[in-house]
Symmetry: C2
Subunit: 389 residues, 2 copies
């Protein structure tokens, strides 16, 4: 809203923000970025961060302070946005349709970027021949692999792997490599299991690349990644690049998996107390699922965090207080079940912060990050984010 934006622009501290409002802690963001960049460096792979979580050029500039580097995107709209900000080397990590391939190649022709596509069927490869003819651009293509029965992709020993590779080449496209995503790693919670998932993701992907090379395909890029496996990989021999996105912000799901501490979580929603039901131990706030998202990713974890963990206005966790229920614009705070604690006094007008179950989903409910640092109420910057397709 215009008025909203005006008030936000005027706000110099979070006390002046309209609630609910999305906060981003710069110190935590930078620490998270450095941690995975360090891992990738030690493991000898290129990091190709996924911009689907942040969707913000300002966050991307923190990842790449000197010049734009390789990135992953989840929509063509993101590709268009980052192309407009000078990014040249992108992977669209969603299986292509004829329509999305056409839009992607039009962007490549218009801006000169290299936007790599993903496919796993001969039908998609054949569709590329038409796109190539119509647009006059040679598509760069990954074959998508399935390392853990998560979603799409071919198993490395599937005979279709070679068939698809040959059809990609026949279509006149450039087969740049293979790509996997260990999406099932989100469901794990022990270090041993995560190390094993990372090694499985690696060995699957490298095996597919070797099969392709044995049949004359160069397969220069071997790409894999998920935030959990990216942090638990011990060895990435044969892999050339690592992808991850939610690691920049982290969230309660990643905390439950064991990838981050609560104090690493960089985004939260600032909310205001609007009522209470003392007889039920409830405090009502003006952040419901519209501000927090409907994500209940921790519901299947050992510690169910409701719709989010509650902190005081400075970001310090209020122990055992969670958002127990959420409707569109109402959140109900309550003590976590099983805790011996009682609900603290939170009078109407009190401000709190709520940590996300899932950072990608919470951030998507907002158009702007108010950037803060640590417990200071000062707003350092306002960073816009994009949405849509």
């Amino acid at each position: 809203m215009e008025t909203n934006a005006k008030v936000r622009e005027a706000a110099e501290t979070i006390d002046a923000l309209i609630t609910p409002s999305l906060l981003l802690d710069r110190g935590r963001l930078e620490r998270n970025i450095q941690r995975l960049a360090g891992n990738a460096g030690k493991l000898g792979v290129v990091l190709r961060p996924h911009m689907k979580t942040a969707k913000s050029i300002d966050v991307a500039r923190h990842v790449f302070p000197r010049e734009p580097g390789p990135i992953t995107v989840s929509t063509i709209a993101e590709a268009e946005y980052f192309a407009g900000h000078g990014f040249r080397d992108m992977t669209y990590a969603v299986g292509m349709s004829p329509a999305s391939a056409t839009r992607a190649m039009e962007l490549c022709r218009r801006t000169g970027v290299d936007l790599k596509l993903l496919l796993d069927t001969v039908e998609q490869a054949d569709a590329l021949a038409d796109v190539r003819k119509t647009i006059g651009v040679t598509p760069s293509v990954f074959i998508e692999l399935d390392c853990d029965d998560h979603r799409g992709g071919l198993k490395p020993d599937d005979p279709k792997l070679l068939e698809v590779a040959n059809r990609v080449v026949a279509s006149g496209a450039n087969l740049v490599g293979v790509l996997a995503h260990a999406g099932e790693s989100y469901g794990l919670s022990t270090s041993d299991a995560l190390v094993e998932a990372a090694e499985n993701e690696r060995s699957t992907t490298v095996r597919a690349a070797e099969t392709l090379r044995a049949h004359g395909h160069a397969c220069p890029i071997v790409s894999l990644g998920s935030t959990p496996t990216a942090h638990f990989a011990q060895n990435l021999e044969g892999v050339t690049e690592l992808r991850a996105g939610v690691y920049m912000f982290f969230d309660l799901v990643q905390h439950g998996v064991g990838v981050c501490a609560i104090d690493d979580i960089a985004i939260s929603v600032l909310a205001t107390v609007i009522g209470a039901k003392p007889e039920k131990g409830w405090v009502l706030v003006d952040a419901g699922w519209m501000a927090l998202s409907r994500d209940r990713g921790t519901a299947s974890q050992q510690l169910d965090q409701g719709y989010g963990v509650v902190c005081d206005e400075t970001g310090r966790v209020i122990e055992d207080v969670v958002v127990a229920q959420a409707s569109q614009e109402h959140g109900i705070l309550a003590i976590r079940s099983g805790s011996g604690k009682s609900m603290p006094e939170l009078p109407v007008g009190t401000r709190i912060r709520i940590l996300p179950n899932h950072a990608c989903a919470m951030a998507a409910q907002h158009d702007v990050y108010s950037v803060v640092n640590g417990e200071s109420p000062e707003i350092e910057a306002r960073w816009e984010r994009i949405r849509g397709w």
Copy 2:
């Protein structure tokens, strides 16, 4: 996105839309609007539709084809937007904080609208005295009632009801009435239970109004409503107005409650097939939770609809096919468990429509409605919607 908007403006039929894309069936919308308007007329109450679902001036103009009428809003941003389009009589149906009351009264002063506030504590009433002094506008206030232990509000027999009413008057605000919302009716599924919930909502609200009147408060407005009870109320004696929002679009949750037929659901997400896993009976589409929302409201109903019911491109339901899983930009279509059917052939590039679990949540993921009518692929109009606070 700019490009997105350009392509969408150019699109004359849904075949040219970028997917995922939000569709709105005008015929169904009009039928749903007429149905509840008819109910309200028969029951002798004013209908004050809740704009939290549609958030669109074009939809509001279908509800009020002649001139702006009374509406309910869920955010001050909605109030600002509808005030800008000539709406004058609005209720902000979320408990006020000192900050939201200030913004609301600033809007009243600036535009001359009557934006009614909601409260249920003496602390909120006291805060209004300050707001009144600072802004120089007399706030209109509802006392929020709790008829079914859903969220906030006072029980009609709570002695605080009179205390709060007296403090509202003492603050210099205008006590316009009492307001209830039978939010627990969403969890019901039989006609008898819904009729009973509607009568309970009525009798609770009327009892509170009578108590207030017995103590000298005029209490001119007696307001209640939820989409289920609004459709099952048999008698609204003593009630002056009815509120509901999701009824304009309806959704699978409302279908599960028994309020609408599948063919009444007016919004859907158009999506494109991007792959398959035949060995698992999966078809992958380019609509994940970013386009559908994370809402799983049917999970607790008798018939779990996954992340939505799948229709063909013209809107005809493909029997027993649902979105079984969703990640950010991927949906996995599969046959509903327990069905004897097998998955139909849906080659890459095929387009489908997905009906929402929860219309408020699905619509919120999009910035524009592409308006269609029945099975015709023609796009009649593009209606924008707002978001934010």
